[in-house]
């Protein structure tokens, strides 16, 4: 009762009208449906029997169900579970390290009284516009820094995204009042103490958001592993790269079949089929689909704590 009353009270003070709220809900439901229906379809396809696919095509209601594709996928055995573990490990460790670098760098940039603020803003900004390209970057990473065939070879090259620095800096600027920092400074708090004890708790929503985006970037990355993890290094291959590789294998052989001659036919037969790849899509997406609501809760709680004002 009390809650309803509270709701009514809130509505009275400052809320959208009921028709508007209904309209918002309809728009949101439609868009959200659009967002998840394709994934549901892929799950259904992965459980559809081959015969059903041949007869009526992909369908939300296949004629027959089958777990054949999953059985085949689980034959990948250790390689599959190892990749799963790798993806998790890289995502967790990478996100933590990235966040530390982001928070430190962005916070310094957000301080209007930082003497070299413009210089370091520019250093970060410039690389968004100019890069050396693939070959020199590869050369520096692999030959100069010796990063290859290890978790570091995936984590370190992705440690920083200049764009996120700018976003986080903006968060700091808009959600952390200058007075707060000044007050802390007058109280004799050291810079690091101010940052982690006072600023970080206030800026939690922004940090959580950047953390989430960073985690997704690590989870979805396949190009960096492709460059720095050799295929024979089974220990460090993440899941997303495993999936990409299968797709690339199929296209490669189809493309070169004329020149490869008799080779192509034999190589083709050894490749996983499309339904297996649909299974892998499900396996790639499933953990995030499960883990995400928890992330989300953390963000929302961050949001409420973060709205401490003035």
């Amino acid at each position: 009762m009390a809650e309803i009353a509270l709701n009514q009270k809130r509505r009275r003070i400052n809320a959208v009208s009921i028709p508007a709220e209904v309209a918002i809900n309809i728009v949101m439901i439609l868009f959200c449906a659009l967002c998840i229906v394709p994934f549901i379809l892929v799950i259904i396809i992965s459980f559809s029997a081959e015969d059903s696919i041949r007869a009526i095509g992909y369908s939300f209601l296949p004629q027959a169900w089958s777990v054949a594709a999953y059985e085949y996928a689980f034959k990948l055995g250790d390689a599959l579970w190892r990749s799963y573990f790798n993806s998790f490990y890289i995502t967790v460790l990478g996100t933590i390290l990235s966040l530390i670098v982001y928070i430190l760098y962005s916070y310094a940039l957000s301080r209007k009284d930082f003497k070299y603020r413009n210089l370091f803003t520019f250093i970060n900004f410039f690389v968004m516009l100019f890069g050396g390209g693939l070959v020199p970057t590869y050369c520096v990473t692999k030959q100069l820094l010796g990063l290859s065939d290890s978790y570091w070879a995936i984590i370190i090259p992705m440690l920083l995204n200049p764009f996120n620095v700018i976003v986080l800096r903006t968060f700091f600027q808009s959600s952390v009042p200058d007075e707060l920092i000044e007050a802390a400074s007058i109280d004799g708090s050291g810079e690091y103490n101010t940052l982690f004890k006072i600023v970080v708790p206030v800026a939690k929503p922004g940090i959580a958001t950047i953390g989430l985006l960073t985690a997704i970037a690590y989870w979805n990355e396949w190009f960096i592993p492709k460059l720095y993890i050799s295929a024979s290094d089974k220990l460090h291959v993440p899941l997303q790269y495993l999936l990409m590789k299968m797709q690339a294998d199929a296209e490669y052989i189809a493309k070169n079949s004329a020149a490869m001659g008799a080779e192509a036919g034999m190589a083709m037969m050894n490749l996983p089929t499309q339904s297996l790849r649909m299974v892998l899509v499900v396996l790639v997406v499933f953990p995030i689909a499960c883990a995400y609501p928890f992330f989300q809760r953390y963000i929302i709680s961050g949001l409420t704590i973060g709205s401490v004002k003035g």
Binding site: Y58, L129, G132, V135, P136, V140, Q143, P157, L160, F171
Partner: protein, 327 residues
């Protein structure tokens, strides 16, 4: 006097502390982004591979890095590596597509995401809002490769849901991967589908940072919801909007390779509406045995144009509202 000295010392200490904060990031940027920039010279060279070379510095002989020896030994050819971008029969088409889609995506992304963020914020039930936000953000998790499987599930000529539905209704079946017309729509939808959740979250985080008392004050003053959005919310989102806008303008000559390559399955007959500079470069370089000088040239050109556009955008923003400018 002593007090002043103390203040200078404190300032020095503060600067040092803040410098130590930017150190790890700067080191990373230097190693991974600044050092490789020397590779730009490749774009002007007829790149060749040479046998290992040695240099003697102060009586010590060192082996030179292979890539550096290659760069030092290759001949300069001026702007020859850029020619393939402008001599292609489809140059106009790919530039039109790249710019066109980018402008469309920037505008749609802005309008839809800001609208969605405001809508979510206005919902009375926070649980519902959270649920929507969760579902909406889901596509952003997926790589384009995964997304392309979704699209295939719907559009595959023999097995896809939509062609089958058309067949069952006795309609003329559209061969999607060979028909240009629907693709501007499919690509735009795919992009909105994937990116909206992301930018909505950025805007929403910015909105939740707004002090609620401002709305209450406005409400008491008799401002309608619409006026509150116009006079409180939007001005607060301004910085974020402008930053995202300027950043996107900097990528105006780049395209999301996964979207334009994987989603249409690199299908040929629809390239008049799907070919962008990035997919062209990828497809064309194959015929040259992977000429990295040409790839470097294309990248450099994209960067330069992006740089110019960002400078223009930033100058305009600075004229209108100095605080929102990026630099």
């Amino acid at each position: 006097m002593a007090k002043k000295n103390g203040k200078i010392a404190a300032n020095k200490k503060k600067t040092l502390m803040l410098l130590s904060m930017v150190l790890p990031g700067t080191l990373w940027l230097f190693l991974f982004r600044y050092v490789p920039i020397f590779g730009i010279v490749m774009a002007f060279q007829n790149y060749k591979i040479v046998k290992p070379q040695k240099v003697t510095i102060l009586g010590h002989t060192f082996k030179l890095n292979n890539y550096v020896s290659n760069l030092l030994s290759s001949d300069f050819v001026g702007f020859k590596n850029f020619e393939f971008l402008f001599k292609a029969p489809t140059t106009k088409v790919m530039i039109r597509n790249t710019l066109g889609y980018n402008v469309l995506f920037i505008l749609l992304g802005l309008v839809i995401s800001v609208a969605f963020a405001i809508m979510l914020n206005e919902l009375t039930s926070k649980l519902t809002a959270k649920t929507y936000q969760t579902l909406m953000f889901f596509p952003y998790f997926l790589s384009w490769v995964v997304a392309s499987y979704f699209v295939t599930g719907f559009l595959d000529p023999t097995r896809g849901i939509i062609p089958n539905m058309m067949r069952n209704h006795g309609w003329q079946v559209i061969d999607f991967y060979n028909t240009s017309k629907p693709w501007p729509f499919i690509l735009t939808l795919s992009n909105v589908w994937k990116q909206t959740g992301y930018s909505t979250i950025l805007y929403l985080a910015a909105i939740t940072g707004i002090d609620t008392s401002q709305y209450e004050a406005a409400s008491i003053d008799g401002a309608s919801k619409w006026q509150q959005i116009k006079y409180v919310t939007i001005p607060h989102l301004k910085t974020m909007i402008i930053i995202l806008f300027i950043m996107n303008v900097g990528k105006i000559f780049n395209s999301d390779f996964g979207l334009f390559y994987n989603v249409p399955n690199n299908s040929g007959l629809i390239k008049d509406v799907t070919e962008t500079i990035d997919t062209y470069v990828y497809n064309a370089i194959g015929g040259t045995g992977g000429n990295f000088s040409m790839t470097a040239a294309a990248g450099l050109m994209q960067n330069l144009i992006g740089f110019i556009c960002i400078m223009i955008a930033n100058t305009i923003v600075r004229k209108v509202d100095e605080d929102s400018a990026l630099f």
